[in-house]
């Protein structure tokens, strides 16, 4: 009974946000002189209209789901990991370089690339956790700033030492990896690849992990009330470093999956320009850090993008409508955070009073 109510309540707000986003989007469409129903129909078609569009949406959702899951894990523990972008980029770079330079058969290259991405991105993220637990440096700020270091470092690496000098292109990118090390496509001729399966399995796995393991329990308690967790004997510093490692590792996996499954090389700016990391953070916030919810929210955000592209192809309405809808979603998410903050403050004032 309680569970059902909680689930429904958890669903109401994201749904309201989506409805509001679509309404505001409708106003914007009217303002640019478009036909609302027609535009949304084209948007739907662009995202889910046929098998190609559907799998394209799933492919685009893959990195968003993975980043979202990584961030969700840290958020659940109450640690605001804003460094998904840098972690993802370092993961992608490590995966590309490992796949390029490790000798051996394709499968070994692929696995080594994944492991390298996980370790590098995990350590990069855990470093921020360590700075916080050891020196009290605010995690939110360090992770944000570490993004710049990571993306600029990766940019340098592919602009100079590891730049692809074989082709005629002047892009800052690595060489293309061996075809044998690439993620297989799920369907012939479609963009969606093995990474999507990994993402879905991981979402389910994280759901079970959170619910049924002692570590998951400790993470939930730390996120719910850090003082309670410390009082009960959970070591905050240790948990912070561990959960930041895993959180970063999953973001790194997102990067690896993009390299191995979609781009087949590391191209400077390709991950940051697509805003995968920030969409992932949005998905997490929209789903209140619930792993399965995060996967759905990531799918929604991805559909907004791919649908927006379809809409732009077939109507006169510009792609920016998608951004407007996303912006309204963000507004609603921040409103949700504010409301729960106010509620918590109010509840705090009521504590201990006789009723």
């Amino acid at each position: 009974m309680d569970k059902l109510k909680d689930t429904l309540q958890a669903l109401i707000q994201p749904l309201l946000a989506i409805v509001a986003g679509l309404l505001v989007g409708a106003i914007a469409i009217l303002l640019v002189g478009g036909d609302v129903l027609e535009t949304y129909r084209e948007m739907w078609k662009g995202a889910f209209g046929n098998f190609f569009f559907l799998t394209n949406t799933l492919a685009r959702a893959t990195p968003i789901i993975l980043v979202g899951l990584g961030v969700a894990l840290a958020f659940r523990a109450g640690f605001f990991n804003m460094g998904a972008e840098g972690q993802m980029v370092l993961g992608a770079l490590s995966a590309a370089l490992t796949a390029l330079y490790i000798p051996g058969p394709g499968l070994i290259k692929m696995l080594a690339a994944i492991i390298a991405a996980i370790i590098v991105a995990g350590l990069w993220s855990a470093f921020a956790g360590w700075l916080d637990s050891r020196f009290g440096m605010n995690l939110l700020i360090t992770t944000l700033l570490l993004n710049y270091i990571a993306t600029l470092f990766a940019g340098y690496m592919v602009a100079y030492p590891f730049k692809d000098r074989t082709g005629s292109s002047a892009l800052s990118q690595t060489q293309m990896i061996d075809a044998s090390a690439m993620f297989p496509k799920l369907f012939q001729g479609m963009t969606v690849h093995l990474g999507f399966v990994i993402a879905i399995v991981l979402a389910l796995g994280m759901h079970l992990f959170m619910k049924h393991t002692t570590k998951g329990y400790e993470i939930r308690m730390m996120g719910g009330n850090p003082l309670f967790a410390s009082y009960g004997g959970v070591n905050r510093g240790k948990l912070m470093i561990i959960s930041m490692f895993v959180s970063g590792a999953i973001a790194g996996l997102a990067g690896a999956s993009e390299v191995l499954g979609t781009q087949y090389r590391f191209l400077d700016g390709s991950l940051t320009a697509a805003n995968y990391a920030w969409s992932g953070i949005m998905a997490t916030l929209l789903a209140n850090s619930n792993p399965i919810g995060t996967a759905f929210a990531a799918l929604l955000l991805s559909a907004l993008q791919t649908g927006g592209m379809g809409m732009e192809r077939n109507t006169d309405v510009p792609l920016e409508i998608s951004s407007i809808i996303q912006a309204v979603l963000i507004l609603f998410i921040s409103a949700k955070i504010t409301i729960s903050f106010i509620k918590r403050k109010k509840a705090g004032a009521k504590d201990g009073s006789a009723v």
Partner: protein, 499 residues
């Protein structure tokens, strides 16, 4: 009749907080409103003060029906309320706080001189001395309460509602407050007092109305009743008298020696604290809150680092050890602030229950849902914890039920050493009885218990020895069998021990 509340009913959805409650107040009367947590006292007073509107029923003042939409309406009808948590501006002076909302003005400007004069005149009129220029932040809680009452009087209140007025006061301050209430009543002011504390109620009130589950179980004259009868009316059954056997104490379970925490103020937070608690012994720590008790508990349980001294539990030196190590060495801990330390409000009852019990409720890192259910539902039964289910979020439990859950969780550790900090703060008589009984049972089972409480009666009832803390030091140790309340109060206020 000055005030009549007639058949007040207040429902929130399916929950009825007040059902057909009738309540009245005569001029110059002190009328106490008592009941367990969740009995509907505060709801009734919020209705009277215009903060809630009743689902049905009427309020009459001097025979005239009135409707209050917000507290301003209530204040206009000369009703004033002093909340449990004071509503003062700490950075402002006493005079500024008292005149707030009715500030004297000179043309457009605030007239501070007049404000001070008004404060002096009102404090003299009601014989409640204050220093008008003193900042509220520098006042004791007792003084702050006096300011609250004067503020209400300055607003012209004839009916004054006091919500749990003595919760934060020292015994001496309580005496002064009760005296002030009596003298104000003699001058024609009328009081409604919400309280848990039966002895104070018996001393100060003329009539007592008891609420239980939102219904009035009776209104009695204070002269014609006694505490037992009132408890029965509140709880709805007889309370069992606690039996304390005399026990031979064993070896020391915890040995605290020379523990200091410097802090960043001039005075250390803890100043060379040394004591032991032995097997089968309850040592009470008395003191006004904020004299180092919280720091002492956090130091012992590993939540706060100490600068000097050693702490030994069960012959293991746990100085500087982690919370987990200390718990493993034999500590269980009922924390003083249940919402701050004791639970995660968003988490379920069972999640809150297994903190510290993971070893017995999991296998190789996987939680055993069945073991958890068995464990927690046993506590729910034994402690009569009212909860929808084990999956109900902790925030939906009343304070008393949450406290019972925490006590059950910590007692179930069966640890040789137990810290019980404010184990019954804000819980009702029924829950208090259960918790006290369980603590004494642990004592019988030869556990060592450190009981920290701001309730003197609780300490006197349970403890074998009493330590008194004042400004971070232990200023006295008394044998509970012979100690008197006066002795302890004096030590708590920083006086020297007598006798």
């Amino acid at each position: 009749m000055l005030l009549e509340m007639d058949s007040i009913t207040k429902s929130y959805g399916l929950v009825t907080a007040n059902r057909n409650v009738s309540f009245n107040l005569r001029k110059g009367e002190v009328h106490a409103l008592i009941g367990e947590n969740g009995a509907g006292k505060t709801t009734l007073m919020r209705i009277l003060y215009g903060m809630e509107s009743p689902t049905s029923g009427h309020i009459k003042i001097n025979g005239q029906p009135v409707v209050f939409h917000d507290p301003t309406d209530a204040i206009k009808h000369k009703i004033g309320m002093v909340h449990q948590h004071f509503m003062l501006f700490p950075a402002f002076s006493i005079a500024e706080n008292i005149v707030i909302g009715r500030e004297p003005k000179k043309s457009m400007m605030f007239d501070r001189k007049k404000a001070i004069e008004e404060t002096i005149s009102i404090s003299e009129k009601y014989n409640m001395p204050v220093d008008p220029k003193k900042k509220v932040a520098d006042c004791s809680l007792g003084m702050q309460q006096r300011v609250e009452i004067l503020k209400v009087l300055h607003q012209g209140a004839e009916i004054i509602i006091l919500d749990e007025p003595t919760g934060v006061l020292t015994p001496l301050e309580v005496k002064e407050l009760l005296a002030s209430i009596k003298s104000l009543a003699a001058q024609g002011k009328s009081f409604i007092i919400i309280s848990h504390k039966l002895s104070e109620i018996m001393e100060v009130s003329d009539r007592i109305t008891v609420l239980r589950d939102g219904v009035v179980t009776g209104t009695v004259n204070a002269g014609e009743t006694n505490e037992e009868q009132l408890s029965r009316m509140m709880v709805g059954r007889e309370l069992v008298k606690l039996e304390r056997s005399t026990l031979e104490t064993g070896k020391p379970v915890i040995d605290v020696s020379g523990v200091s925490i410097k802090g960043n103020k001039a005075k250390p937070l803890l100043d060379r604290i040394s004591f032991q608690v032995r097997e089968g012994e309850i040592v009470g720590v008395a003191g006004i809150s904020g004299n180092g008790q919280s720091e002492l508990l956090q130091a012992i349980s590993g939540l706060m680092a100490i600068d000097e001294g050693t702490i030994v539990i069960q012959d293991q030196n746990v100085t500087g050890a982690s919370v987990k190590q200390i718990r493993d060495s034999g500590l269980a801990h009922i924390p003083e602030d249940r919402y701050l330390w004791g639970v995660s409000k968003e988490a379920t009852v069972s999640d809150n229950g297994i903190m510290g019990h993971l070893a017995s409720t999991s296998k190789r890192g996987i939680l055993n849902r069945k073991a958890i259910r068995t464990l927690v539902s046993e506590w729910v039964d034994r402690f009569a914890i009212k909860t929808g289910s084990l999956n109900t979020k902790a925030q939906y439990l009343s304070g008393g039920n949450l406290q019972k859950l925490i006590v059950a969780r910590e007692i179930a550790q069966q640890s040789p050493f137990l810290i019980a900090a404010e184990p019954t703060r804000g819980v009702d008589v029924g829950a208090m009885e259960i918790i006290h009984g369980e603590l004494l049972k642990r004592r019988e089972e030869r556990a060592a218990i450190l009981l920290v409480s701001s309730e003197l009666t609780e300490i006197m009832k349970l403890a074998d020895r009493i330590l008194v803390m004042y400004e971070g030091k232990i200023v006295g140790e008394l044998d509970a069998a012979t100690a008197t309340e006066e002795q302890i109060s004096l030590l708590m206020a920083g006086g020297k021990a007598v006798g």
